[in-house]
């Protein structure tokens, strides 16, 4: 099975779900699960094949597409795209499982979810900047519809804000790409080709921030992060899982694979600013999460903080930093998916509140022990405790950062400390009762259903697998980042 299937399965699934007759609407979740499984299997087999033989040429597909623009339908699955495709598949499976009980227009819901998954796969696979942009745009509309139609808490506002930011960012990307296209002599949109064009430094100095900013708004870079928490909170569970888990990674991926290789001189100039903004995001997200009472807001701001590590690793731009950044993309995708799944589905569906003070009265440790254990483990993972994927990623980023900007490391350490504080605060209030609450009448709650348990176990197992044995993942990432495209941006300590 070629990695192409990780692109075809979701779109085919979306189409199949749409074509279902109304009587068979219940089948839509099964189709969605099958399509996500197919995506995962295609990505996993691609990963295994690549790990087995990294010397072989990467799988690629290069078709003529829009000859007038010089844009080709060019896909390739290198060591960078493959683990991210796998992440996409895993988060998709978990997202579908956590949405198993959706009854409100399930066909529309699952087709939109699958459209996002397909669009994300497309972005990861694209090697043509214009094609990548098209897939990038495919993701935006379903995101908006999912939030507006199935969301909660201030959903029109959240959806509109998220979409406005996305469209604004897309305009910047388009501007940056058009400038690069024109400056390269209108040769085409092939990323490797554009990267080899060698743009003049003066041009790079303004083109880089335009293109880079366009991408990283979607990665929640400070101070353009505010769409993320509101969007996550308003979104239905599966959408916030996909949004935090993979869609935010698209921004980081685009910045890493397009903006930085295209304009290495511009990147070198703006690198310190990116590092400072990343640290600001880490601290700002962590401190704000410390003050929020809505559990989903806490997780939303924690995402802003964790995404800061990705930007930080990219800004460090050493071997360690870049690999740590990609690893953090994968790690945060898994952990954020897990946290949003537990908070938005498992806990909210049973307690009908996300307010930390109200949750404290439910005594979850007693009434829903499995969820409490799962949330404890997820919190440990989110705090970056060893054994889970976050630790390996954060260590790698910080080793890289030490090589580039050692003076930022203490501030990041403060951020990690505050992360511990807000995570424990949320955990304590969610799962452990306070004195008065333990006297309240215990609420009978339905225990975990099999889709919930499966999704939690899957995500935890992946996080643990990466945390304990990161070697295969890092081998793949090494393979991807060794590509000549990335050599000009690499800083050598």
């Amino acid at each position: 099975m070629t990695p192409l299937w990780s692109l075809l399965f979701p779109f085919a699934g979306a189409l199949a779900v749409l074509l279902l007759p109304a009587r068979a609407a219940a089948l839509s979740r099964v189709i969605a699960l099958a399509a996500s499984l197919g995506t995962t299997i295609a990505a996993a087999s691609g990963c295994l094949k690549r790990l087995g033989d990294t010397a072989s040429p990467v799988w690629s597909l290069d078709l003529e597409w829009i000859p007038q623009l010089g844009s080709r339908f060019h896909l390739a699955a290198d060591g960078l795209a493959l683990p991210l495709l796998l992440l996409n598949g895993i988060v998709a499976i978990a997202g579908v499982l956590f949405s198993w009980n959706i009854t409100q227009r399930p066909r529309a819901f699952f087709s939109l979810v699958l459209a996002i998954i397909g669009g994300v796969s497309g972005v990861f696979l694209s090697r043509d900047a214009f094609l990548m942009f098209v897939f990038y745009e495919i993701v935006i509309v379903p995101k908006y519809l999912l939030i507006v139609a199935w969301g909660s808490t201030n959903r029109e506002y959240g959806a509109m804000k998220l979409t406005m930011y996305s469209i604004g960012a897309s305009a910047l990307i388009l501007l940056g790409l058009a400038a690069a296209y024109a400056a390269s002599g209108s040769a085409g949109f092939d990323i490797a080709g554009l990267a080899a064009a060698g743009f003049p430094k003066g041009f790079q100095l303004w083109a880089f921030p335009v293109l880079f900013l366009g991408f990283v708004v979607l990665a929640g870079i400070w101070p353009f992060h505010t769409w993320a928490p509101t969007g996550h909170v308003a979104a239905p569970t599966a959408a916030s899982m996909l949004l935090a888990g993979v869609v935010m990674k698209l921004g980081a991926y685009g910045a890493l694979c397009v903006a930085m290789p295209l304009f290495p001189d511009g990147f070198a100039f703006w690198r310190p600013a990116i590092a400072v903004l990343a640290v600001a995001g880490i601290l700002h997200g962590a401190f704000t999460a410390l003050t929020r009472r809505d559990l989903k807001f806490v997780i939303g701001y924690s995402s802003v903080s964790h995404m800061g590590f990705i930007l930080l690793g990219m800004a460090a731009a050493t071997h360690w930093g870049l690999r740590g950044a990609v690893l953090q993309m994968i790690s945060h995708g898994i952990i954020a998916g897990l946290l949003f799944g537990i908070a938005g589905r498992v806990i909210y569906e049973r307690t009908h509140t996300r307010d930390l003070d109200a949750l404290q009265r439910f005594n979850l440790w007693k009434s829903l022990p499995a969820a409490a254990v799962a949330f404890t483990l997820a919190s440990a993972a989110s705090m970056g405790l060893p054994g889970f994927s976050g630790f390996v990623a954060e260590v790698s980023v910080l080793i890289g950062l030490w090589e580039s900007y050692p003076w930022l490391v203490p501030l990041v350490a403060l951020g990690i400390l505050i992360t511990g504080a807000f995570t424990l605060r949320a955990l304590c209030r969610t799962c452990f009762p306070d004195a008065a609450a333990s006297l309240a009448i215990p609420v009978r709650m339905p225990s975990l259903t099999w889709p919930e348990t499966t999704a939690i176990v899957l995500l935890l197992a992946v996080s643990l697998a990466i945390g304990l044995h990161p070697s295969p993942w890092i081998s793949l990432i090494n393979d991807g980042l060794d590509s000549p495209v990335f050599q000009p941006i690499l800083q050598r300590p």
């Binding site: 979306a14 189409l15 749409l18 074509l19 078709l63 003529e64 227009r105 066909r107 529309a108 087709s111 139609a149 804000k161 101070p223 505010t226 601290l283 700002h284 401190f287 704000t288 410390l290 003050t291 071997h319 360690w320 690999r323 440790w365 022990p369 254990v373 404890t376 440990a380 405790l385 060893p386 054994g387 630790f391 390996v392 260590v395 790698s396 910080l398 080793i399 030490w402 090589e403 050692p406 490391v409 203490p410 350490a413 403060l414 990690i416 400390l417 505050i418 511990g420 504080a421 424990l424 605060r425 304590c428 009762p433 306070d434 004195a435 333990s438 990161p470 070697s471 890092i474 090494n478």
Partner: protein, 682 residues
């Protein structure tokens, strides 16, 4: 097995930490109610660990063939970034083997005791799962051959401690204490982490021993000592100080000590195992393990001097506070803080062996004291206030006897108790330190206070008459008292290997053989210190006897006899010099202020600017709309009228449901793709 362990192939040694980890993983799958079975699984796993740890200890009992410390190190690549591998592995040497055997031994006894202590708690199974996780992590830290692996285990130990303190979340104080413990120690952990990355950046490795290329071997040490950083201090000193902050967090040294007394909200076996015998000693172990980095800057260099002074201040401070406490476990908690200070003094003044001897001795007698205290609390129906106890020696004779052994060892009663000799070794190390006499004088004072507060506690708990008629004390069952007897015996036996006449323990850590030489006892320096120790203990005990033995308080509500004499000073120490209040004002307050400020920024600036942007856009839109309505629309409307008419016939096919709309879009897209594929393939 012994040869296999020392040959450098550490497959078997991995069993020591992995067995408890495996047990914890297994129990996580079991339903919570199978408490008995769970405890058996954990005890079995830990017994296995103890056997391997004992064999490992036997394997390193003798110096290596060519002289020097018997040491076997292994490593493998955990993951590699480019051509820079991050290696981890295990290390077997006397320091780790001694600590590991002690941890496994004490942990096994405490697990046996817990079966009796926790028998009527319903979350028995989960409790043992957490304990097993803790044991695995602690043993991994001890045998680790890499600073990174040690840090990994160190963090897991912190997580297990969090879960075990929080285990009593019936008590709201326990949840708060668990959180405080985790965050406070994490402050230290972050410093440790930065130090680790710094060391890695210079030395290029985090392995301790690696055939000459390790962090603790001469090549790397010279490089670290040769590099200067800001302020002119060497990299080795700077990294040592960061590691020291990590150790201070875990080992409850001033000013990062406040979490440890609060951690006593956890169950008593947890206090004994984690917050007395093993985890809190991990900080001391860390400094002992990385001592070559500390020492490369000279015997009285900044890193070692900081260690010695922090230890001495902690030792004195905590013993003063312990005098004024009423909770039986809090007294022991402050005493732990104080004794950890003694070990830090020994480390700072170059006495690694003295520190480790005191660490092992302390682990045994403090576990003994906590378990005895647990037996007392169990026997008194949960009462922890020593003012309400009294006269318990008649009701609980066995507990009293074992407690007395622990108390005398801690106070430093002469000759047959390990605490006497280990404390004497600490004095010896501090006295001969070239950096000054300050730490020595402070620990001598602290030792005198130790004898005082332990005698006070013993008198109030076991002597006199019962002060609270509601307490009907009874002796605890055999599963609880048996571990007490074993620990009491071990406490006394340990004194055989640590005397100046036969300093086996010290020589063993140095990699040399000890000779039996009674004459060493009469060397001028040694005799003087022994006499000094005797005087200190006598003074402390006598003073306590005069205050609490002769004029014992008659009932529970009577004020402490010393309180009326010392007045305000008493209250200062009763409140532990108000560190908690200070931190609320000086640390929590500002942090809350920053968080509040950033929150306000988030609400005011970001959201308001969004709202303003939205309003401006709307205003623009509205004015555009007005132009439309007045100027453009009238003409346009007429045009549209015609189209509208046309469209109304088409619109019948529209059902108005988004579902159908989406389906149409989907079908149309599919058709387009099919058409495109067909066209492009021609």
């Amino acid at each position: 097995m012994v040869e296999a362990l020392t040959s450098g192939h550490h497959g078997v040694l991995w069993l020591v930490p992995l067995l408890p980890f495996a047990a914890a993983g297994l129990l996580a799958l079991l339903p919570d109610k199978r408490g008995r079975l769970a405890s058996l699984v954990v005890i079995g796993a830990l017994a296995g660990s103890l056997v391997v740890a004992a064999c490992a200890l036997i394997g390193v009992l003798h110096p290596a063939d060519g002289g020097g410390v018997m040491r076997s190190a292994s490593s493998f690549v955990w993951f590699a970034i480019g051509d820079e591998p991050l290696r981890i592995g295990l290390l077997l040497d006397p320091l780790g083997a001694g600590m590991g055997a002690m941890v496994a031994f004490v942990a096994l006894l405490i697990l046996l005791y817990s079966r009796g202590y926790m028998a009527d708690d319903r979350r028995f199974g989960r409790f043992f799962t957490f304990l097993s996780l803790f044991c695995g992590a602690m043993l991994l830290a001890v045998y680790s051959n890499s600073l990174l692996l040690l840090f990994v285990a160190w963090e897991l130990v912190g997580l297990a401690s969090y879960l075990l303190i929080g285990f009593y979340f019936k008590k709201p104080a326990a949840a708060a204490a668990a959180q405080k413990a985790f965050i406070t120690t994490r402050i230290g952990d972050m410093a440790f982490f930065i130090g680790m990355i710094w060391l890695n950046s210079r030395a290029g490795t985090l392995l301790f021993y690696d055939g000459g290329n390790g962090l603790l071997e001469s090549g790397a040490l010279a490089s670290l000592a040769g590099a200067t950083t800001f302020g002119g201090i060497t990299l080795s000193a700077a990294a040592s100080l960061l590691i020291l902050i990590g150790a201070m967090g875990k080992s409850g040294q001033v000013p990062l000590h406040t979490w440890l007394p609060d951690a006593m909200e956890g169950p008593t076996p947890v206090s004994a195992l984690i917050h007395a015998a093993t985890m809190v000693a991990a900080g001391v172990f860390l400094v002992a393990r990385t001592h070559p980095i500390f020492a490369v800057g000279g015997e009285a260099g900044i890193a070692l001097a900081a260690t010695a002074w922090i230890g001495a201040i902690t030792a004195l401070y905590a013993s003063l506070v312990a005098v004024a406490q009423h909770d039986i476990k809090r007294i022991l908690a402050y005493s732990t803080v104080s004794q950890l200070g003694f070990m830090m003094v020994a480390l700072g003044t170059g006495g690694v062996a003295a520190a480790m001897l005191h660490l092992v001795a302390h682990a045994l007698f403090k576990a003994l004291l906590f378990l005895s205290a647990g037996s007392v609390i169990h026997g008194c129906g949960g009462e922890q206030d020593i003012r309400r106890m009294g006269g318990l020696r008649k009701a609980m004779p066995l507990t009293f006897a074992t407690y007395a052994v622990g108390m005398m060892a801690l106070s430093g009663f002469p000759f047959v108790f390990s605490g006497f000799w280990s404390k004497e070794a600490v004095f010896h190390s501090a006295k001969s330190w070239p950096g000054g006499n300050g730490p020595f004088l402070l620990v001598v004072l602290a030792a005198c206070l130790t004898a005082f507060y332990m005698t006070r506690q013993a008198l109030l708990v076991f002597f006199g008459t019962p002060r609270d008629p509601r307490i009907h004390a009874h002796e605890s069952p055999l599963p609880m008292t048996l571990p007490l007897v074993v620990l009491a015996t071990a406490t006394m036996l340990l004194s055989l290997v640590g005397t100046p006449a036969w300093p086996w323990f010290e020589r063993w850590l140095d990699g040399t053989r000890a000779a039996f030489d009674p004459a060493a006892l009469t060397k001028p320096g040694t005799t003087g210190l022994i006499v000094l120790s005797l005087v200190i203990v006598t003074a402390g005990v006598t003073a306590a006897w005069r205050v609490y033995g002769i004029t014992a308080p008659r009932d529970a509500s009577a004020p402490d006899p010393l309180a009326s004499k010392t007045g305000r000073l008493w209250r200062v120490f009763e409140h532990a010099m108000s560190f908690n209040a200070l931190y609320r004002k000086a640390v929590i307050g500002p942090l809350a202020f920053i968080a509040g400020g950033i929150d306000a920024l988030e609400r005011m600036v970001f959201h308001r600017s969004m709202a303003n942007g939205e309003r401006i856009l709307k205003d623009v839109g509205r004015s555009a709309g007005r132009i439309d309505e007045s100027a453009i629309n009238p003409g346009f409307d007429r045009l549209c009228g015609g189209i509208e008419h046309q469209a109304s016939s088409t619109s019948k096919s529209q059902s108005g449901r988004p579902q159908a709309g989406l389906r149409a879009i989907g079908l149309a897209t599919a058709a387009c793709i099919a058409l495109y594929l067909w066209l492009s393939s021609r």
